[in-house]
Structures are given as structure tokens and as C-alpha cells.
Amino acid sequence: MKIAVCAKQIPDPAIEISYEKGHIKRPEEQVLDDTDRYGIELALQLKEKFDAEVTILSMGPKGTLKGVQQALQMGADKAMIVSDENLSGANSLTTSNVLSELAKLSEADLIILGTESTDGYSGTVPQQISRYLNLDCISYVKAVEVNSEKVILTRQTIEGSEKVDMPDKCVISVTAGGVEPRYPNFKDIMAAKSKSIQEIPLNNLNLTAKNNLKFIDIEEVESSKNGQKVIDDGEAHKFIIEKLKELKIL
């Protein structure tokens, strides 16, 4: 079995995102989006059961490749990346188009992703990839049970949850908390250094998506309130009571 996991390199999420001409500024050193760790973990659990090969697919500026390395350190076997200036600020459809082309090249049966990236969070890429590849999309998977006969995926729904048996070929999106991502140990980190990272030229892919979203501008809004602040000396609850009365909640 072949599994592909889409993983994104993002700017350090602890730092506020900044924009240039409407595009997220991407420093040389980008890290693996934590959201993708769930997808990689699921792939590794399936690999343990089915003896699969796990390929990381990533699109974006290469930079130091730290994020891709982090994905390989977790235990993925190899990576395929597309890095082209023309893709800077790509919309979700273009991203999905490129990633589904990579998925075809990887010959993956299963394509696994997080539900949305931390920096862009459009939340549409897994579903778009499934449509490009004409596969079922098992979206919002929040629990996974691997037993001797099959893999059972629990989907989050608006009303609660539901289960499906994992099809042989499909796209899966995993929510945070769906699985517990592993931490690589020293051996894994060393092993990752010799894993293959293959760069695929954009020209080799059938890119049909267009740049239909035009940036207009970014407007600053004053949203900071900095209201009254009270340091508790044992009586601060009285301020709350007062407010509750003022707001006619009490």
C-alpha cells in the first residue's frame, strides 16, 4: 500500500503572520504545521499495520526545508515537493490542484491531510483533492481504530459523530486530537537526514486552476478594548457581581 500525506511548511506560528501584497510572508526557515502531524501520525499507524510506504507531499518555497525534515523525522519514508515562484500566494484550488498531481505521481492509494492549515485555514484542500482524483473524501476524522480486519474512522459531524470503514482508496482529513502524534527520537532524527526529497518541476504537472482571487487591501481595525483591570485581592468577585447587575443579568 502507498500512502501520501500532504504537509505544509509554515512560518513559526508563535509569531503573528505578516503580509506582503496580500500574501503571507514566508521566511527562509519554516516549520511543519502542527496540524499535519496528525495526518502523518495516522499514516504511520497504518504503515505499521499494512507495511505501507509513506510519502510526504509539500508545496511552497523550499527555504531550509526544516518543515519537510520534521515530517521525515516522524517516520515518513520520503518526500516530493513542488517549489515554484509562480505559486507564491496560491489560492486553495491551485494548492489542491498541485497536490493532487503530486499524489498521482506518488501512486498513493490513501491521501491524508489535516483539516485546515494553521496559517491559511481555508479548510477546503482535502475535499478539493478528492474531487480532482475522483475519490471519496472521509473528512473530519476524529478517531481511528485499527483492528485485525479493518480500519474504522469516526467522523465529526454537526450533530455528533458517525463511523465508516476506511475504503481502499480515498482522501482522509484528520482533526486535531484524532490521533496522538509521536515525537521523533534521536535515531529517527538522524535517519531522516538520508531520506530522499525529490523536487518536481511545476512544468511536469497539469495545472489548470486559475488565480481567480485578487487581493484588494488589508485594513487595520482597532479591536483592542483594554477595559477595566482589577487585581484580585480576595474581593474581585464583587466587581463581577456589580457588572452582572449593571448588565441586568442579575
Binding site: 491551485t94 484542500v125 483591570k229
Partner: protein
């Protein structure tokens, strides 16, 4: 401009998000119709004031691909050029599928939109609401996913005036459907919300939150940190990947105020925050900030109500 609003039907009712979108579309004087998706046999979701197609799916088959195929036909036959849906799970799936069909990238997390010179312009809230990002959509068919609570919902008289179509089963079977029990005030429509974060220290202390909420007739919410930790079901998560709330009063107990949390609650009319860290970002958006220990303050507060 001709719009199509996609809505799910839950417990025989129109999704709240679609009622919000209808009000916006009416304000802009855009001609529109609905396509709804649900499992009920004959829900009361129709209206004499707009056309609607109800796609009835079966609860035990994954059919969103097929649902999208039907909607694809409607878009073409009715010459729709603006497709709108609330960013719910189902609608995210459906809009994503359609965006591939029509080769038109959708705009996600939209909080407002307008039509300028026959083009759709959208507004997104970024960096925890400190900035508004504006986009123009240059497509024959534009797809927008709208954040819930972006517009005031309309109140419409509903009947059974719609066309109903049964959607055929997909390949993947669904089983073990679990409905989370809904008890007490719900996050979406409560005037008061009491929310907990990791600063409640232990899951057992959520009893304090529940007691406060019941005294204030409030709904209970939480951060993703505690939902991921299993303290609360996902349905109670407030924020970017959870629910958006706009109550009269939001009480944040032991919540740091990460931008992803703020997105879901910062438009509450009045915000009270309790946090022991004076520098916690939640205080920047609070009307009343109490610097102190939740476990000391909340019991005293409950006592004095």
C-alpha cells in the same frame, strides 16, 4: 447576479447560517434560491418567497459527492453566479467539490461581502480580528464560505413549498451514528456564555463552570485546548475551528485568548476575563479583566449570586 444558498437541514430545520445569509442577500437585493441537504422526509423548510430544492440523502451513506453533482446541475441550469454557504462541515465539503467542477477557488471564512461593478468582493477577518483582508473574486461562478454569526438571521414563515429529490447512495457506508445530547442553553443562541480554558486546571473543576452557568442561565463553552484534552465535547468549542458566539456577556475563565479563540467570541457585547497572568492576550479584548486565580474567584462569585 443570481445567488444559490446551500444549507443543511438539521432536526427538520433550516441551518441557522443560511437564515443569516438570506438576510444579507436580501439586503443586497440579489435574486436567490436555496438548495438544502438533509435526511428528514418532509421537513418544514420551504417558503413562498424563494425557490428551493431539497436534496434528501440517506443517513447511512456518504453522499456529498453526489449531492455536489446535483447542485452542479442547478448552478448550470439556473445560471447561478454566486454560491453561498455557512462554513459548516457539510457545506465545506460541498463547496470544495463544486469549486473544482467550476475551476473557481472559493473564499473561506468570509465575514462580509458586497457586489461592486458586477464582481463579488469579500472581507475576511485575520490576525484575531485586528485586520480585515479584502478580496475580489474574478470567476464566472463565485463560491463563498461564510462564518456563522456574520449577519443577523431573518425570521421567515416556513411551509413545505420546495422540490424534493432523493439522492442515490454513495459507495461508502455510514454506521454507528451518534447524536450528542443537547441539554440546557445552547451556545448559538444564549445571551450569556461561560467558557473554560486550561486555567480551570483540572476537568473536575468544570463543575464550578457548570454551576455558574446554571445560575446565570448561560451556555457553556471551552477552548480547543480543553476539548482536545477530552474535558468537553467538540460541540462546545468556541473559536476558529469551533463555534462563533456573540452573546450579551461572555465570561472567559482561565483562557489565554489565542487569536484562534478570539475569532469565535471577540464580538460578544461584554467580555469578562479571569486569568492569573496579567499579560494574557484575553485582557486586550476584555471589558472587565480580573487578574487572579479562577479557583479562588469563581466559588466566591457563585456564592454571592
Amino acid at each position: 447576479m443570481k445567488a444559490l444558498i446551500i444549507s443543511e437541514v438539521i432536526d427538520g430545520k433550516l441551518g441557522l447560517g443560511s437564515l443569516e445569509i438570506i438576510s444579507k442577500v436580501r439586503n443586497l437585493n440579489i435574486e436567490f434560491q436555496l438548495v438544502t441537504v438533509g435526511v428528514d422526509d418532509v421537513p418544514t423548510i420551504g417558503s413562498d418567497s424563494f425557490k428551493q430544492t431539497y436534496l434528501k440523502r440517506s443517513s447511512n451513506s456518504l453522499q456529498y459527492n453526489k449531492v455536489a453533482d446535483y447542485i452542479n446541475n442547478i448552478i448550470q441550469n439556473e445560471q447561478v453566479n454566486l454560491v453561498l454557504a455557512s462554513s459548516t462541515y457539510q457545506c465545506r465539503d460541498i463547496i470544495s467539490f463544486l469549486s473544482v467542477d467550476f475551476n473557481s477557488s472559493p473564499v473561506s471564512n468570509v465575514i462580509d461581502f458586497s457586489i461592486e461593478n458586477h464582481k463579488v468582493q469579500t472581507v475576511n477577518s485575520i490576525n484575531g480580528g485586528n485586520q480585515l483582508y479584502k478580496t475580489e473574486v474574478d470567476s464566472e461562478v463565485s463560491f463563498l464560505l461564510i462564518r456563522p454569526k456574520s449577519f443577523e438571521a431573518v425570521d421567515i414563515e416556513l411551509n413545505s413549498n420546495y422540490i424534493s429529490i432523493d439522492v442515490e447512495d454513495g459507495i461508502t457506508k455510514i454506521y454507528d451514528i451518534h447524536k450528542e445530547e443537547k441539554k440546557g442553553p445552547q451556545l448559538e443562541d444564549s445571551k450569556v456564555v461561560v467558557s473554560a480554558g486550561r486555567g480551570m486546571v483540572d476537568v473536575s473543576n468544570l463543575s464550578i463552570i457548570n454551576e455558574l452557568a446554571s445560575k446565570l442561565n448561560a451556555a457553556v463553552g471551552g477552548t480547543r485546548a480543553i476539548v482536545d484534552a477530552g474535558w468537553m465535547p467538540y460541540s462546545q468549542q468556541v473559536g476558529q475551528t469551533g463555534k462563533t458566539v456573540k452573546p450579551d456577556l461572555y465570561i472567559a475563565c482561565g483562557i489565554s485568548g489565542a487569536t484562534q479563540h478570539q475569532v469565535g467570541m471577540k464580538d460578544s457585547k461584554f467580555i469578562i476575563a479571569i486569568n492569573k497572568d496579567e499579560e494574557a492576550p484575553i485582557f486586550q479584548i476584555s471589558d472587565l479583566g480580573i487578574v487572579g486565580d479562577t479557583l479562588n474567584i469563581l466559588p466566591k462569585l457563585i456564592e454571592s449570586i
